[in-house]
């Protein structure tokens, strides 16, 4: 939101991305565009490189070749120091929450603020309280340590930290995995809600077909080291057997609200 950008601008541009570990090629010349203001869901079988893709975009994984531009800046080759403060414009929610275990939830949320701004302690405390209420955590969570939180609360606290600096881009790595269906649905709702009120662009890695249906605008499927992008409707017409099974198998059909 800090940048004047119109909806529909490309905020992440991936061209010719190759990721390989030893002999196994995970990504073979991938191209992908993520547009401002959309929620892009990324799906794929286990080991298809969903998380690797996310890690490559945020600069945690150096790809073999290819270019990744986030908000106009190359991240594929950069070290975290020369991302030039891109970290201020994105927020990442890791699968396990990745909360700093030696700090309380409130301190966790204030870490990005401390790193990037000169706000007074009082203002940071106010904003931390605001983020907590935005993600739906009760105020008394602030003083708790990550080990005292349940799975769903950990994810919400991680989300609050990811949103600490009002980023333009939000990366979510399997946000609903490990949550019960009710909590998962609430979390989906929360993300959609925040995305709309904060004008976020969301890059969402997931397994969960319910999440896809509920909140994504477009879906990218990683299959056979390539990527296919579409909506649920167009992807269901895809001839690829994995994609077919994913959307039209028993679980897929159930989630999409059809009779078996």
């Amino acid at each position: 939101m800090q940048d004047e950008g119109r909806p529909g601008d490309v905020v992440i541009r991936i061209r010719g991305l190759v990721n390989a570990f030893g002999d196994s090629v995970v990504h073979d010349h991938l191209d992908l565009d993520v547009k401002r203001g959309e929620v892009l869901g990324v799906v794929g079988g286990s080991g298809s490189g969903k998380s690797v893709l996310l890690r490559s975009i945020v600069g945690l994984n150096k790809p073999q070749s290819g270019s990744i531009q986030v908000l106009g800046r190359e991240t594929a080759e950069a070290d975290s120091e020369d991302l030039g403060g891109l970290q201020l414009r994105w927020g990442v929610l890791f699968q396990g929450g990745a909360l700093f275990s030696s700090q309380t939830v409130a301190q966790n949320i204030e870490v990005p603020m401390r790193r990037w701004t000169h706000m007074s302690q009082e203002l940071m405390d106010e904003l931390a309280a605001m983020k907590l209420s935005l993600v739906g955590l009760p105020p008394e969570t602030a003083q708790k340590y990550p080990s005292e939180l349940s799975g769903g609360m950990t994810k919400r606290a991680g989300l609050a930290r990811a949103l600490a600096l009002d980023p333009e881009l939000l990366f979510l790595d399997e946000p609903t995995s490990g949550l019960d269906p009710i909590s998962a649905a609430q979390f989906d709702e929360l993300i959609r809600n925040l995305q709309q009120s904060l004008g976020l662009t969301v890059f969402l890695v997931t397994h969960d077909i319910d999440t896809l249906r509920a909140i994504t605008d477009r879906i990218a499927v990683l299959v056979n080291r390539k990527i296919k992008v579409g909506t649920i409707a167009t992807l269901r017409q895809d001839p690829d057997p994995w994609i077919h099974e994913y959307f039209s198998g028993v679980r897929g059909r159930a989630a999409l609200g059809e009779q078996g």
């Binding site: 800090q2 990037w116 701004t117 000169h118 009082e122 931390a128 600096l165």
Partner: protein
């Protein structure tokens, strides 16, 4: 100074102006009200004085960009004014930001977060007390663990219910013994050199430098060889035991074993205890030999004592008993190291931080116990006249 400049360019800086007109006032805000400007706007907002104005309008129609931090500042200002009995008659925001503002206004009513207070004197006292109880309870638990291991070890050796995990046992000997040879050899050799050098230096003053060899032989075989080897192994293998078993606990591997009906003591603890009890005496013997060689090299260069002369003197100085007194302690040390290592490993909780914490504790504790035990045994042996 942390620098926001390269990350974010503020095209239109946030602005703030208070216009007073008699009893009413207008707070005119504009520009980019975003997190990067929040610190500055926070200060400016604290600086404004709307005193005396009963009726205030907030005019945000000039806002170009607004994020939740900016919206919060506006909301907070409104609430502060209202708390001072002013009436905020209207808040004018661009249409696209109204939803965000209304949402914050509805949801964000919690007071600022608070942080746990810094430690006070009572806290330190309380921690001391808790620590004391913890140590006492832990020693009690360790004795319990000792009993269990002792029973399981003797059962396994005397009347094995099923086949002993023999490959695991051999693997432990290799892991704790064979692979430790280079480091133990290296340190024993250096220690031999140091001892011989310092001994010779002092004894030269009495023209008794030949006794350097007696000093070296007795000192190394009885005490130092065993002690140094045990300390190295505690740092190397004791920590490894805790980390291995601890990681298995974090991964729920130990839980899986229990649900399958495997005996943790038999599978995890026994091979390590028995393996180390075999490996450590062998390592100690190796350290003794290498340490003496180190001393021999030093006395040759420093005092000009030839190897045959060194051997003759050494033969007169030590007996088989000297060596055995040193070696007999090794299995006891090994038992302590493996026991503490496995015990701490079993106590690891299901988080990664706990593995690191208990691994450190395991090393410190086993080294402490080894040195205390060695001191005790030295006294016992001298009383018994060995």
């Amino acid at each position: 100074m942390r620098n926001l400049a390269p990350a974010i360019t503020i095209a239109t800086p946030a602005t703030l102006r208070l216009e007073k007109e008699g009893r009413s006032a207008r707070l005119v805000i504009g520009g980019e009200w975003v997190v990067a400007e929040a610190a500055r706007m926070d200060r400016e907002l604290h600086g404004i004085d709307a005193g005396g104005s009963a009726d205030i309008a907030i005019d945000g129609s000039g806002i170009v960009l607004l994020d939740s931090a900016g919206a919060w500042l506006i909301l907070r200002t409104k609430r502060e004014l209202e708390a001072k009995n002013a009436r905020v008659s209207s808040i004018d925001l661009p249409e696209r930001y109204r939803q965000l503002f209304e949402r914050l206004e509805k949801e964000c009513i919690a007071p600022p977060v608070t942080h746990p207070p810094r430690h006070k004197l009572e806290d330190y006292l309380a921690r001391l007390g808790r620590g004391t109880i913890h140590v006492a309870r832990q020693s009690y638990d360790l004795v319990g663990f000792l009993g269990r291991v002792a029973v399981e070890t003797s059962e396994a050796v005397v009347a094995p219910r099923r086949e002993l995990p023999f490959p695991a046992f051999i693997h432990q000997i290799e892991e704790t013994g064979l692979t430790a040879l280079p480091i133990v050899g290296m340190l024993a050799f250096l220690l031999g050199i140091v001892l011989a050098y310092q001994g010779a230096d002092q004894l030269k003053r009495f023209s008794a430098q030949i006794y350097t060899i007696d000093f070296l032989g007795v000192g190394f075989l009885r005490e130092l060889g065993g002690l140094v080897t045990a300390i190295i192994v505690a740092g190397r293998s004791g920590s490894a035991f805790t980390a291995q078993i601890g990681t298995m606990r974090v991964n729920e591997e130990t839980d899986a074993m229990q649900t399958i009906g495997l005996n943790l003591g038999e599978i995890l603890v026994l091979p390590r205890v028995l393996g180390l009890m075999v490996a450590l005496p062998l390592l100690t013997f190796f350290a003794d030999v290498v340490g003496i060689i180190g001393g021999m090299v030093m006395t040759y260069f420093d005092l000009g004592i030839t190897i045959p002369a060194f051997m003759r003197e050494l033969e007169g100085a030590i007996t088989l008993r000297t060596l055995l007194v040193g070696l007999i302690k090794a299995p006891v040390f090994a038992f302590v190291i493996a026991l503490v290592g496995c015990f701490e490993g079993m106590r690891v909780e299901r988080n990664a931080a706990s593995v690191g914490k208990l691994t450190t504790r395991s090393v410190v504790e086993s080294i402490f116990r080894i040195i205390a035990l060695d001191a005790g045994l030295s006294i016992v042996f001298s009383v018994l006249g060995f």
